[in-house]
């Protein structure tokens, strides 16, 4: 867009490594990067590719264990610094650069605000410390900015604390605080990854609007292809600390040159391709029925209210909803982790909602669950073999030899073979951990498998692999799947039916995933529109 205009930020030969124990682990291998005035550049890469390290390195916020081998940073206005000087010498005038030249947005915006300070105090200290305003102007400046960012009642906001605000609101406030110093470059490090689709769209369109309005230059760091496609002018693809491709967004997405980019795009289209699944046969019996389920911890704020849903044999049903809509609580109720306040959960016609003790544990054979954070669900000190044997031990199934044989069989089924079966989670990749979690659930031969955001935290490559694996296992072992997710495209490609949840209830019953877009429900339409915008339409 502004390709011809002047360079505003130049990073050259940036090398960063992390020291751990005796060895140094290189993260960035001599990276070069140029940003031009007024453009939005997307730095695209998988987790661990070094993209966050780049953001921290050019703002001087690397932890002490990181070592800058070489690298220089040049900013408009003749500021040039040698980043390699940063290792403890303190010779770089960061205070002059941070805030006024470079502003930074963090992934978890609520964590980026001081929990015991009001939003107003954040503005105040930022403005006063930089002498950008006199004390009596602070309020008017912050109110003006907040209004610009879509808050209609900024005065209330100024006196509230971060914990009273949603994640999306916190991110917009962080943006406002960053903008109050009128920085030249905004570096946004995964600013929307922790948000649901609707807030994600809000924040991205605000960043875009501010960029056009204020002539801001934006470096957007993300792992999400849809985000990159929606907002950037130029894309830089990073793989394992090396720049593998850069070019205009149209060019990179339509004619990717690097093998890595091509793979990334292929996986994404695999994940989001519309389902080619036929709905299950009409005759199949109802396996699980949730009837008017109600769950609340605090009587004034029910999490799940009046939720009803059915799951047929061998059917895959998706539950779609934003964060906080109660979909995870629903899953936990079905899995027996929570006891519902009212309503029933029928498994082949028998109510299982109030069961306790031994009877409850017997249900574990029939309903299993896979969690979002697979690594956290596995005990770090046990081998894959032991982990898969665990449920067999808990429910006293088979003798020792049989358990080992069963565990090996299911581990092979999910692609953990040979020596990897005797490794522990810390030595395994995130994808492998999720595979173990799946094997551990399937070893009990369940009738229902609940996947609670089981692929949400994964890179698109691993996401595609896990979904493919689940599809294969589903075909082979003929269980039903209840897939909980906030990601429309994943659900559409994977499920027979989708039910949309908002505010603790289903506005309408499940519908064939191919017909989801025909729904007349406004909330469903909103979700689809936001997701669709990110998919195809540029913000």
């Amino acid at each position: 867009m502004h390709a011809a205009s002047e360079a505003i930020l130049i990073v050259e030969q940036l090398q960063v490594s992390y020291r751990s124990k005796e060895q140094a682990r290189p993260i960035l291998h001599g990276l070069n990067l140029t940003l031009h005035q007024g453009e939005t550049v997307c730095l695209l890469g998988e987790s661990g590719s070094g993209k966050s390290t780049l953001a921290k390195a050019i703002t001087g916020l690397l932890p002490p264990s990181a070592q800058v081998g070489s690298g220089s940073l040049a900013l408009a206005g003749g500021i040039a610094v040698d980043l390699a000087d940063d290792n403890g010498s303190g010779s770089i005038p960061w205070q002059r650069i941070r805030g006024t030249e470079l502003a930074l947005l963090f992934q978890d915006a609520r964590q980026a605000l001081n929990p015991v300070m009001t939003i107003g105090q954040h503005f105040k200290e930022t403005l006063l410390d930089h002498r950008k305003a006199k004390p009596d102007e602070v309020e008017s400046i912050s109110c003006r900015l907040l209004r610009k960012l879509g808050f209609t009642d900024p005065l209330v906001l100024l006196s509230s604390y971060p914990f009273q605000l949603s994640g999306g609101m916190c991110q917009r406030i962080c943006l406002a605080i960053a903008l109050c110093l009128e920085p030249k470059v905004l570096i946004a490090d995964e600013p929307t990854s922790a948000l649901d689709t609707v807030s994600q769209r809000e924040v991205l369109s605000l960043i875009r609007a501010m960029q056009l309005d204020l002539g801001l230059t934006v470096l957007l760091i993300t792992h999400d292809l849809a985000v990159a496609r929606a907002v950037s002018d130029r894309v830089i693809v990073l793989d394992q600390g090396r720049l593998v491709e850069q070019g205009s967004v149209q060019r990179v997405f339509s004619q990717p040159k690097a093998l890595f980019t091509r793979q990334l795009l292929a996986y994404r289209s695999q994940v989001s391709a519309p389902a080619k699944l036929r709905s299950t046969r009409k005759s199949s019996a109802c396996l699980l029925e949730v009837r008017r389920l109600h769950k609340s911890y605090d009587a004034n704020q029910p999490i799940v209210r009046d939720a009803s849903l059915t799951l047929d044999e061998q059917e895959i049903v998706g539950v779609l909803g934003q964060s906080g809509c109660g979909k995870s609580t629903l899953a936990r109720c079905i899995a027996g982790l929570e006891t519902p306040n009212a309503g029933s959960i029928l498994l082949r016609g028998t109510d299982i909602s109030g069961l306790q003790g031994k009877a409850r544990r017997e249900i574990c054979r029939r309903i299993q669950m896979v969690f979002q954070d697979a690594r956290a669900s596995l005990h770090p000190g046990r081998t894959a073999q032991q982990l898969v044997q665990e449920p067999l031990q808990y429910l006293r199934i088979g003798n020792k030899q049989e358990r080992i044989a069963l565990a090996s069989h299911y581990l092979q089924e999910v692609g953990i073979e040979g020596e990897a079966q005797y490794r522990k989670p810390p030595q395994l990749s995130t994808g492998q951990c999720q595979r173990i979690a799946i094997a551990r659930a399937l070893v009990l031969k369940p009738e229902v498998l609940i996947c609670d955001e089981a692929v949400s935290a994964l890179d698109v490559r691993i996401q595609a692999q896990i979904l493919k694996l689940l599809k294969r296992l589903h075909k082979q072992y003929r269980f039903s799947i209840l897939m909980i997710s906030h990601d429309v495209s994943v659900l559409r490609s994977f499920c027979h039916h989708i039910a949309v949840m908002s505010d603790g209830r289903f506005q309408e019953g499940k519908q064939a995933s191919v017909r989801l877009h025909e729904s007349s429900q406004p909330h469903t339409q909103l979700l689809l529109r936001c997701a669709g915008d990110l998919e195809e339409v540029r913000i």
Binding site: W94, L102, F106, P115, G150, L157, Q164, L165
Partner: protein
């Protein structure tokens, strides 16, 4: 307000439970309670056996010692409420008066020692955290560990030896005067400082690892301001610890008071144990327990005001947000 009332009720319940324990302890003690409270016949030399027996019988009747335990407890509690803690066997005066006379000295010592602990511990803890991993950090930690390993009475004896005997800068007497306060306060404060410094350091390091510190730095805020914010948040959870240490302090003062002949209630209680003056011990225990519960109550209330996150009644802010930007 409702929270305050609930806390108050809880504190009251705790106090009642604590008095039950105290009462049981007294009743479980071997021997006749009347004899315990009156002193052994052999030790009450000025009294004839007949007079003693009569006194004991009077006491038994007055305290209802032949009645069921529950009734005894209630009447005992009734006297406690009226601050009737009995009469000292040694001086013959009311225990409440004796304790009230000596309480100010203990509070004075405790407050001074607490000030030493807080100022020194805060400073060393923050410095140690900011310089984590460097030589000065290690030096501070080593000094703290060594100090924490030295019994307070050894430090106290050394201090006495040095300042009172060798230098003659400290007067040994049994008066509670401001000029005599500094040495026991310093000894007591130094003994409890290392633990506090260690907690300050740990909390400060945890705060420095938070994203909001990075974010504040990324906005180009002055280093001093960022450190100030982090240290404020690091200190918040230490309010409880400080208050608790104030409570243990007042009781731990026994050692220091007896060593420096500081006329506080700790020393008085200790002397009473050696004199077998039971009413005093009982009164002392009651006063200390009440003091601790009061301090805990104050902390609970104070907390709600310091930390906005704990003000549960605050509603979620949803106004000021339009649906979609």
């Amino acid at each position: 307000m409702a929270v305050l009332l609930r806390k108050l009720m809880e504190a009251l319940l705790t106090l009642i439970c604590a008095t039950v324990i105290l009462f049981m302890l007294i009743r479980l003690a071997p021997g006749d309670p009347a004899v315990l409270l009156l002193g052994q016949p052999s030790e009450v030399a000025a009294m004839h056996t007949e007079v003693y027996e009569q006194k004991a019988a009077e006491l038994r009747e007055q305290w209802g010692l032949d009645q069921p335990m529950a009734i005894q407890y209630v009447s005992w509690l009734g006297r406690l409420v009226q601050l009737d803690l009995g009469t000292s066997l040694h001086t013959g005066r009311a225990v409440s008066a004796e304790l009230a006379e000596r309480l100010p000295a203990t509070l004075q010592l405790t407050a001074a020692a607490l000030a030493v602990q807080l100022l020194l511990g805060f400073w060393l803890g923050i410095v140690s955290a900011l310089k984590a991993g460097t030589f000065s950090d290690q030096l501070i930690r080593l000094a703290c560990v060594t100090l924490a390993s030295t019994p307070a009475f050894v430090t106290g004896l050394c201090a006495l030896l040095l300042f009172a005997v060798t230098l003659g800068a400290y007067e040994i007497s049994s008066e509670a005067s401001w000029s005599r306060l500094w040495l026991p306060a310093l000894t007591m404060g130094l003994a409890s400082m290392p633990q506090f410094a260690r907690m300050v350091r740990a909390n400060m390091l945890a705060e420095l690892g938070q994203t909001y510190v990075l974010a504040a730095l990324s906005r180009g805020l002055a280093r001093r301001r960022v450190i100030g914010q982090a240290s404020r948040n690091a200190l918040l959870p230490l309010v409880t610890v400080t208050a608790l240490s104030a409570a243990t302090f007042a009781s731990g003062a026994v050692v220091i008071e007896s060593l420096f002949a500081w006329p506080g209630i700790g020393k008085y209680a200790l002397d009473s144990i050696l004199r077998k003056d039971y009413p005093v011990i009982q009164g002392y225990a009651f006063v200390m327990v009440t003091l601790v519960i009061l301090i805990h109550l104050c902390v609970d209330v104070l907390y709600a005001y310091i930390d906005p996150r704990l003000q549960r009644k605050r509603r979620q802010v949803t106004r000021g947000v339009n649906e979609h930007a």
